[in-house]
């Protein structure tokens, strides 16, 4: 019985770990907490609705393409002009952008949630001993692990990855060795966009609708995950996001029925306790700034 909860918690944890990674990557490269990241996931949701009648591979590729373009446009039009400004200015820019995109989606797609036809192929359940494992959970875990491995390889083995890490640590010195910050930051937004697109597919596969406000809860989870993981550290971000999802699922399953509506309150109480004990997160990165 408990093992079943753990399996479900691992599924949610993996999804949250991915969400957090996409947000943390951009933060670590340019010190920007991009609160419009949730809207990238929302845009992904709407593109799934638009592409719902297409074959599965077209849905995947189309959604990735749309979200990556949205992410690049964000960088170019909203964040590049304020890059030299203070972290606070960038933060406010990202709030404004998040609001703008939400309202734009509301105008374009209506205030009411758009129903999303379920992907019945994903709800197939496998029985392993006493456990039920859905295809959705398996796909989520496999995809999350693959993305993390791919990201690790990219950061360790490719030139752009090494340049990204160098810029993360010391952006002024990176410029002095000839690293083009425009290029590095744009590639961080591309990667962040790919991750947001994949998150949107894994997330909306379990939902029955997409709404203009769908991104809100996602960015909050990712933000808190990144903070408890330790801002600026990729491993910390993945870990923090995973623990958020893991704890959330277990709380929802194990709390007495009358307390279950307060699962969020319990979760954020745990977050506060973690931050009291480790103010700079579980895995603190050197020189990280908010």
């Amino acid at each position: 019985m408990y093992l079943q909860y753990v399996v479900d918690a691992i599924g949610t944890g993996s999804l949250y770990a991915l969400m957090t990674l996409g947000l943390a990557l951009v933060f670590s490269v340019m010190g920007l907490m991009n609160f419009a990241y949730g809207q990238l996931v929302m845009i992904g949701g709407f593109s799934i609705i638009m592409l719902r009648q297409q074959p599965w591979w077209a849905i995947i590729l189309g959604t990735i393409l749309v979200v990556v373009i949205a992410s690049l446009l964000m960088e170019r039009l909203a964040f590049r002009p304020v890059r030299a400004a203070t972290a606070m200015t960038m933060l406010i820019t990202s709030f404004a952008l998040a609001q703008f995109l939400q309202q734009a989606a509301r105008v374009a797609f209506g205030a009411n949630p758009r129903p999303l036809e379920q992907f019945s192929e994903l709800s197939v359940q496998y029985v392993v001993g006493d456990l039920f494992i859905s295809r959705q959970t398996i796909i989520t875990v496999v995809v999350a692990i693959s993305i993390m491995l791919a990201l690790t390889l990219l950061l360790k083995k490719t030139n752009i990855g090494i340049q990204l890490r160098a810029s993360t640590e010391d952006v002024d010195m990176a410029r002095l060795v000839g690293i083009k910050s425009n290029r590095v930051i744009a590639s961080a937004f591309v990667i962040s966009g790919v991750i947001a697109a994949i998150v949107s597919m894994l997330f909306f596969a379990t939902r029955t609708n997409v709404s203009w406000s769908s991104g809100e809860s996602i960015v909050l989870i990712a933000f808190v995950g990144a903070v408890i993981g330790g801002l600026g550290s990729m491993v910390g971000a993945a870990l923090g996001g995973f623990l958020m999802g893991f704890a959330y699922t277990l709380l929802n399953a194990l709390l007495p029925l009358e307390l279950r509506v307060f699962a969020d309150a319990f979760l954020y109480t745990i977050v506060i306790v973690v931050l009291l004990i480790r103010p700079s997160g579980l895995i603190a990165a050197k020189g990280a700034r908010v």
């Binding site: 090494i162 890490r165 410029r175 002095l176 690293i179």
Partner: protein, 240 residues
């Protein structure tokens, strides 16, 4: 013909004047030191040459081109590589990755690899620890790495800001010996130092910088120079 020429440059931050009307030059193949106390604007001068800060007036010329308004990447591509104060190696990258990053401006993969091999030949310690996080190296090793990283771009000129800072005397000597050796192999050097004695001995020529960037002397360096006398003068210059 001067390789690098600073013509009457001034640098101000808000109302604070860091450098005022500074003119210096470095000829092809020359080893020149710019010495002076803390706070006389040496680092600002380095930053201006490297394209990190813009002079408020005056111009900077390199290979007969005006580089005053160029950005850091283009200045590096022109051939000036910087070893900044405090080394600024990438501590969370491996030693090898630091060197790879140093060659960012060159797209020629095989040339970069060859360059990497020659750095490891020249700096055996970097070869020995090539897959180690650079932050784990000792101060002297980190300084070698910072210089090697700068050399990875095959520069015409090295611009070093206080490379002796925080190093043990023996290690400082090794760094100066290395710079001399590089200079003999054809790399022009502009060295910014507080450690006046050793800088003067190592260099062909030196400038003493006073508060506000006024140059007091321009004289020949080398080991025949009466360093004690210069240091005495230089200390006087330093008092504000």
């Amino acid at each position: 013909m001067s390789l690098l020429k600073l013509d009457q440059i001034s640098i101000t931050y808000g109302r604070a004047v860091a450098v005022k009307g500074l003119s210096i030059h470095v000829d092809e193949g020359e080893f020149v030191s710019l010495i002076g106390h803390n706070g006389v604007g040496k680092s600002s001068t380095v930053k201006a040459i490297a394209g990190v800060v813009r002079p408020t007036s005056g111009s900077i010329w390199f290979k007969d081109r005006d580089i005053t308004q160029m950005d850091s990447g283009d200045i590096l591509r022109m051939g000036i590589a910087v070893v900044p104060e405090g080394r600024h190696i990438f501590t969370r990258l491996t030693v090898r990755e630091n060197l790879v990053v140093g060659a960012t401006i060159s797209r020629d993969r095989s040339a970069n690899l060859k360059n990497l091999d020659s750095m490891i030949d020249r700096f055996p310690v970097l070869g020995k620890y090539s897959s180690r996080m650079a932050g784990l190296l000792s101060g002297g090793e980190q300084q070698q790495l910072a210089i090697a990283r700068a050399l990875m771009s095959s520069p015409t000129m090295l611009l070093l800001d206080e490379p002796s800072l925080g190093l043990a005397p023996l290690i400082v000597q090794q760094v100066f010996d290395l710079l001399k050796e590089l200079n003999e192999q054809g790399v022009s050097i502009l060295l910014i130092e507080q450690n006046a004695a050793q800088a003067i001995i190592a260099s062909d020529r030196y400038y003493v910088m006073r508060t506000g960037g006024v140059i007091s002397t321009e004289a020949r360096g080398g080991d025949q120079v009466d360093v004690a006398k210069i240091e005495a003068d230089y200390l006087n210059f330093g008092t504000v």
